[in-house]
């Protein structure tokens, strides 16, 4: 069986209108993949940056997959939330990116978006906070029902992921 190691960090995020941010992340894979070691999802700390406008999480990711096929290559999906001084959380953006498919070090910038409601929801969000959230978060990494959504662009999440592949050459896979 071929093996894939994903080792790296979710470094932080920039470009959001709010400043105290945290991120919930998860990895989704197809049926041929099996997670041997590591934690498949998590939530970062809440960071309030003092220097500049980038929130830093430095959240480590260390996953070990075994796979029988190339279909369902792992996808990392993210939800960025902001937390205010009262402890209330508000959605800042959703995003996803595929885990890179070649060995080595990759710097990844994952763009994010957030759902827009009608003008009522947008006004309420500006004054009171809150705002629409997805009911089923798998829309973030699948294209199936996206055409129903109207979204606004949000900031960018920066990650550095290293890939180690094992035995891919044995099966004739070039990457």
């Amino acid at each position: 069986m071929a093996e894939v190691h994903v080792i790296g960090q979710i470094i932080g995020a920039k470009g959001f209108s709010e400043s105290s941010l945290f991120c919930k992340w998860g990895i989704h894979t197809g049926g041929a993949w099996k997670l041997l070691s590591g934690i498949r999802e998590g939530q970062t700390q809440v960071d309030t940056p003092q220097l500049g406008d980038m929130a830093y999480w430095a959240h480590p990711i260390d996953l070990h997959f075994a796979t029988k096929g190339l279909q369902g290559w792992p996808r990392l999906h993210l939800q960025v939330w902001s937390q205010d001084s009262f402890g209330r959380c508000q959605l800042a953006g959703y995003g996803f990116c595929h885990v890179p498919s070649s060995p080595g070090t990759h710097s990844i910038e994952c763009v994010t978006w957030r759902p827009l409601g009608g003008w009522r929801e947008q006004l309420a969000r500006a004054f009171v906070g809150g705002g629409p959230q997805l009911l089923h978060s798998d829309v973030v990494y699948s294209g199936a029902d996206r055409y129903r959504l109207h979204t606004a662009s949000a900031g960018t999440v920066y990650m550095e992921l290293n890939l180690i592949l094992r035995n891919f050459g044995r099966y004739g896979v070039e990457c």
Binding site: H5, I7, G8, Q9, I11, G12, K14, S20, F22, L36, S37, G38, I39, G42, Q43, T44, Q45, V46, D47, T48, P49, Q50, L51, G52, M54, A55, Y56, A58, H59, P60, I61, D62, H64, Q83, P100, S102, P103, G104, T105, H106, S107, Y158, E160, N162, L163, I164, L165, R166, N167, F168, G169, R170
Partner: protein, 204 residues
């Protein structure tokens, strides 16, 4: 010669904790330690260290230079649990007490070669304003009981932190027998950015 069928691979890291950027603080020292998985063991070198206390330079950059050496070799059977270096920076507060100024962690680079890594440093934040005032008076700031927590992902979702500085590391990495065991770490796409590029305007 032995090792036609190796069962372990080696990772040698050497380098230095070069410098730091903390605009609001001065007279800082740092500690480093390594966090690694169960399949890893250090074979030589020092796992931890404490640096000297340094003051800011007088120029516009205001960097704090440590130039503190790191030298360690690990052996392992599995890349899972790849070592991370955890840096903690401490300095005096206004009353002279030793308080923590930042924690940060990064994986040792996986690709052999020379790497420069600038990592962000953050401190836990007090829960309430009253606690913030009390801790400022008493000199007991919020800190982690074990700095190695910074290298783990679990249990961080309830922590609130403030990022307030950067530390630059220079690391040289050499691996042995990873290819023989079937691990492929090289790549053609070597475009990387450092935290320095992301925070332009602060570090320039």
């Amino acid at each position: 010669m032995a090792a036609f069928n190796p069962t372990v691979f080696l990772l040698m890291v050497n380098g230095q904790v070069e410098s730091a950027l903390f605009p609001e603080f001065d007279d800082l020292y740092c500690k480093y330690c390594f966090v690694y998985g169960q399949d890893w063991a250090p074979t030589s070198g020092l796992e931890e260290g404490i640096s000297q206390i340094t003051s800011k330079s007088q120029d516009v950059q205001q960097t704090l230079i440590w130039n503190f050496p790191i030298d360690i070799t690990f052996k392992s059977t599995n890349p899972y649990g790849w070592p991370q270096i955890v840096i903690s920076v401490y300095g005096p507060d206004i009353f002279g007490n030793d308080v923590v100024r930042g924690y940060g962690a990064v994986h040792v680079p996986l690709i052999p070669g020379r790497h420069k890594r600038t990592i962000p440093m953050f401190v836990p934040e007090s829960t309430s304003r009253l606690q913030k005032l009390t801790s400022w008076f008493m000199g007991r700031r919020p800190e982690y009981t074990d700095p190695k927590l910074v290298a783990h992902g679990e249990g961080r979702q309830v922590t609130r932190v403030r990022s307030q500085g950067f530390v630059t590391l220079l690391l040289n990495v050499v691996t042995k027998d990873m290819k023989k065991l079937g691990y492929d770490t090289n790549s053609l796409d070597m475009r990387t950015f450092s935290v320095a590029d992301l925070s332009e305007g602060i570090l320039k």
